[in-house]
Amino acid sequence: MTEKRKAPGRGLKPLAILTALTLGTAYGMVFFWTPNEADQGFVQKIFYLHVPMAIVTLGGFILGGIFGFIQLRTGDRKWDLRSYVAIHLSLMLALGTLITGSIWARASWGHWWVWDEPVLVSFLIVFLLYSCYQPLRFSIEDPDKQARYASVFAVVAGAFVPMNFAAVRLAQAYTHPRVLGGAQNSMPGSMQITFLLAIVGMTLLYATLWKFEITSKTTRMQLGSIKRRLERDNPGSPA
């Protein structure tokens, strides 16, 4: 191993503390400060979980695509690992987004699933596509090929995400309760601040988990190489 010996988990602790603080504050504000929405009441508060999660999920998928692209340019497998972890985390968050979205749909429209809701439907399609990432990745044995084809998938799927959203949205009526954006942005200041803080918190959570996963994988690889070296230097000793 020629890379510089930098402690892999450096900065993880402050990041984790910052995440806990931001998320804690954000959801504290959700429950004790923001007003209940006039139309939907208390249920609307799932918005502070669902929407940030959705945004971070999509950001993560696109980030995975960008990392994959760098891996293809440089051929450095470090970037493939980063892409893999980004997609892996986003896939779990996507499941969370689907579940929270479904709960929200049930509470505000009375149905667990609404097909004319373009964002939710797009999410399902993206989720189905990315569910193939791991089967694809782990069914290619050669490590170099695995990194390359996983990255190709990451790039293609990353490009697919915005196109898919555009296509599904075009195909359907706009029935989503568009809380943010649109001409009549009627969200009071307290909701806006809380929402932005929730997005920051969710992004930090993603960053923490990503760093944690990368650290854990790098450490395990380093441990493996140390064990192998030990075995080579003292054959027969229980390593």
Binding site: L128, L136, Y149, V152
Partner: protein, 224 residues
């Protein structure tokens, strides 16, 4: 590059003409799907949205079959080594595959579109045909660009035949959305209606984007 593409394409088409493996299977699957849809929907004849949906389900299913088999000749017995050893640009290899898949799709549709008109379609097929052919060819181009890329990725995996449809179907949903919307109007009961320009535009843009992705990635997807 152009001549290489033509030669590689000739090889693929010749293999298919001699072996007759993929296209008949694709056509049969499409036909079986139409029959299954007749019973599953319990309808004597379809029109409008349902007809468009049935036609595109059949086409998409048969396309996944073709996508899964697209690189099989190369993956077996070191065929890819042989192709890569020849002094051709890798872009030509991918492009030849795109055109080959496009040709297969067109051949399948020559069989199943009349069959669909005969078996399931309520309104007459003939007046709808010019517009339908336009949408079919455009969507075939989109399916072919996506399919060649997916086929090249899937063939590297141990799960090849399992993975190809799983990858292809979600990736083909955007052109499918546009194609069904356009086709629904064409197959309406009162004769073909005009197609809103945005649907062909979406399909063409999608084909274009995946074409560009293919150009950006072809160096990385072709392997022994």
């Amino acid at each position: 590059m152009f001549r290489d593409t033509i030669n590689l394409l000739r090889k693929d088409l010749l293999l298919e003409a001699r072996g007759r493996e993929v296209v008949p299977a694709m056509a049969l699957l499409a036909l079986s799907t139409l029959v299954v849809l007749h019973f599953a929907l319990g309808q004597q004849s379809l029109d409008g949205k349902l007809a468009a949906g049935a036609l595109w389900i059949a086409i998409l299913f048969s396309a996944t079959l073709g996508i899964g088999r697209l690189f099989v000749a190369e993956s077996e017995d070191g065929g890819m080594d042989a192709v890569l050893l020849t002094p051709v640009d890798r872009a030509a290899i991918l492009l030849a595959k795109v055109i080959a898949l496009f040709t297969f799709l067109v051949m399948v549709q020559i069989v199943i579109v009349p069959a669909f008109g005969l078996l399931l379609l309520g309104p007459h097929l003939a007046p709808a045909l010019p517009k339908l052919v336009g949408i079919l060819l455009l969507t075939d181009a989109a399916i072919a660009t996506v399919g060649a890329l997916v086929g090249a990725i899937a063939v590297q995996s141990r799960l090849r035949d399992l993975l190809a449809p799983l990858l292809a179907l979600p990736l083909l949903i955007p052109p499918l959305i546009a194609a069904t919307h356009a086709t629904a109007g064409i197959l309406a009961t009162g004769g073909p209606e005009g197609i809103p320009g945005r649907w062909p535009l979406i399909i063409a843009l999608y084909a274009l984007v995946f074409g560009l992705l293919g150009i950006a990635l072809y160096d990385n997807v072709l392997d022994d």
